[in-house]
């Protein structure tokens, strides 16, 4: 893997580190840091539709943080909530894309809630810095979304 590919892959992995921070209630600062903040960024999540432009994208991440502020399944947990697997990165000029499978386990009151979703991330190199400009995850199955919705309405996992 060349240096550009390594840098692009590192940017994508930083996204999943930021996601882990968000899911564990460690705030959204790292998520804000790993994105370019401009009007062509886009994102779609396992339980959401498209957000286009930084304002909408950020509203999505803030809401995701609010959703998972009620999640308590990580208390005392040492294993990652989730992570990207099978990541493959291709670079062309100052843009690169990575495909992979995001896998996570959430411990809910009713038992483990598993997710495996195909993901695509695009990173853009601006002034020599690779950051995310596009994130897409497949929609989660309805029962997964339903469990998260119950958690939100109950106020706890």
């Amino acid at each position: 893997m060349g240096s550009a590919e390594e840098a692009a892959a590192k940017a994508i992995n930083r996204f999943y580190d930021a996601l882990e921070d968000l899911l564990r209630g460690r705030g959204t600062a790292s998520m804000a840091e790993i994105w370019h903040h401009n009007d062509y960024v886009t994102t779609a999540h396992p339980f959401g539709n498209w957000a286009r432009g930084w304002t909408e994208v950020w509203a999505n991440w803030e809401e995701a943080a609010a959703v998972f502020s009620t999640y308590r399944g990580h208390d005392g947990r040492t294993d990652p909530i989730g992570g990207i697997t099978e990541l493959k990165v291709a670079v062309t000029g100052d843009a690169a894309y990575g495909t992979g499978v995001y896998k996570s386990t959430l411990y809910m009151s009713g038992g483990p809630l598993l997710l495996s979703a195909n993901c695509t991330n695009i990173v853009h190199r601006i002034d020599g810095v690779w950051k995310i400009v596009h994130h897409h995850s497949d929609q989660a199955p309805p029962d997964w979304q339903g469990q998260i919705g119950k958690m939100v309405q109950a106020g706890h996992s």
């Binding site: 999540h45 539709n49 909408e56 509203a59 999505n60 809401e63 609010a66 939100v152």
Partner: protein, 132 residues
């Protein structure tokens, strides 16, 4: 989101706005869509709350949020004001119709934070709204 031009009764643009429709059968229907800029959020905080205050004891409130995106700070505050305004209003039923799961979660959170979670329900599909 609704396509093309909106009627004068609507506030906002195709990218984000709302429409309030009351009918003689006691149903107040509010359609909301997109991402609200601050001016639309402020208008909803005023117009939406004013409309909800006119709900009758036998009335039904239907919020069609199928095309609404998760809102930022201004939009969330507008919804808080709207939901808190329902606390002092007597009505028969209030339903939020929404398809975007993240939006629905946001509204569910705001409903809960506003103390009306026992009076506002959520539905996946549009209800029959007599006279609407």
């Amino acid at each position: 989101m609704p396509a093309g031009q909106h009627s004068p009764a609507e506030v906002g643009t195709e990218a984000g706005g709302f429409r309030v429709l009351a009918n003689g059968a006691g149903t107040l229907k509010i359609s909301v869509w997109g991402y609200w800029p601050p001016e639309v959020a402020r208008a909803f905080a005023s117009d939406g709350q004013a409309a909800a205050q006119k709900l009758m004891p036998a009335g039904t409130l239907v919020v069609d949020a199928r095309q609404l995106k998760p809102q930022g700070t201004d939009g969330q505050e507008a919804w808080r004001r709207f939901f808190r305004g329902l606390v002092t209003v007597t009505f028969a039923r209030a339903v939020v119709v929404g398809a975007n799961a993240l939006t629905r979660m946001q509204l569910a959170r705001l409903v809960r934070e506003s103390g009306v979670d026992d009076r506002v329900e959520f539905s996946d599909t549009e209800l029959a709204t007599p006279g609407a």
